[in-house]
């Protein structure tokens, strides 16, 4: 009985705090995305000829985001019936966008105009372990083009 109460309490805390954190994170992501819109991130590795006199340098951004208890629980239920695990979709979406924003932020500090050849690396810090810390780490990197 006590165990059930603890689980319910954790679910409630996870839901309330997790939802709040996710909302404020999305808010800050959207704000910074409009702010950094003037530095386009391009997935092409071919530079147009007009950039022949530009300087280039490597920029990268990374983030580790943790799941909350509620997300983990819902995903656990979802695995039984299959289908979209939407609680994890938003988690990974946040991590990817945050990593790209940090990369762009580094590019902006260097005075870059574009970031070319964006690559992403996703992994989890502890995969497949019992009582593992459920988190996703994303590394985004690319080449910043600085007009002289």
């Amino acid at each position: 009985m006590i165990e059930l109460i603890i689980i319910m309490a954790l679910l409630l805390i996870g839901y309330v705090v997790g939802t709040h954190l996710e909302k404020s994170h999305y808010h800050s992501i959207k704000e910074r995305e409009t702010e950094l819109n003037n530095i386009p991130a391009i997935a092409s590795k071919v530079l147009p000829a007009e950039f022949d006199t530009c300087e280039t340098t490597l920029v990268a951004g990374n983030v580790v985001i943790s799941v909350d208890y509620f997300k983990k629980f819902v995903a656990g239920l979802r695995i039984i019936v299959g289908g979209r695990v939407s609680t994890f979709e938003t988690l990974i979406d946040r991590a990817r966008r945050e990593a790209i924003l940090r990369m762009k932020e580094e590019a902006r500090q260097l005075g870059a105009d574009y970031v070319f050849n964006i690559k992403m690396e996703t992994s989890s810090i502890s995969k497949g372990q019992k009582n593992a810390i459920g988190s996703v780490e994303v590394l985004a990197y690319g080449t910043a083009i600085i007009r002289k």
């Binding site: 590795k45 006199t53 990268a60 983030v63 997300k71 502890s126 593992a132 990197y141 080449t143």
Partner: protein, 104 residues
Amino acid sequence: MLLTNLENVPGKNITKHLGLVQGSTVRSKHVGRDIMAGFKNIFGGELEGYTELLHESREEAINRMVEQATSIGANAVLNIRFSTSSITQGASELFTYGTAVVLE
């Protein structure tokens, strides 16, 4: 040392290819960080400790790659790729590699 993940550098010609250079590192945080991360698993949100861990590992891996490139006389590393993997709980490996070249 010029680092880029493009296959060439705009406006510069490659005079010599020196082959693959690489750098890797495995890092972990102390137990305190892991315990804090355990708490964060209930609430969700960013794990700053691990973000920092990954950032440090990346710098270290790049440094090792640059060291290797310098020792064979390169002045640029092209087509850089990163690769991450987890070895055990709280430890992560970061591997980076690229092509060392001499630019004119």
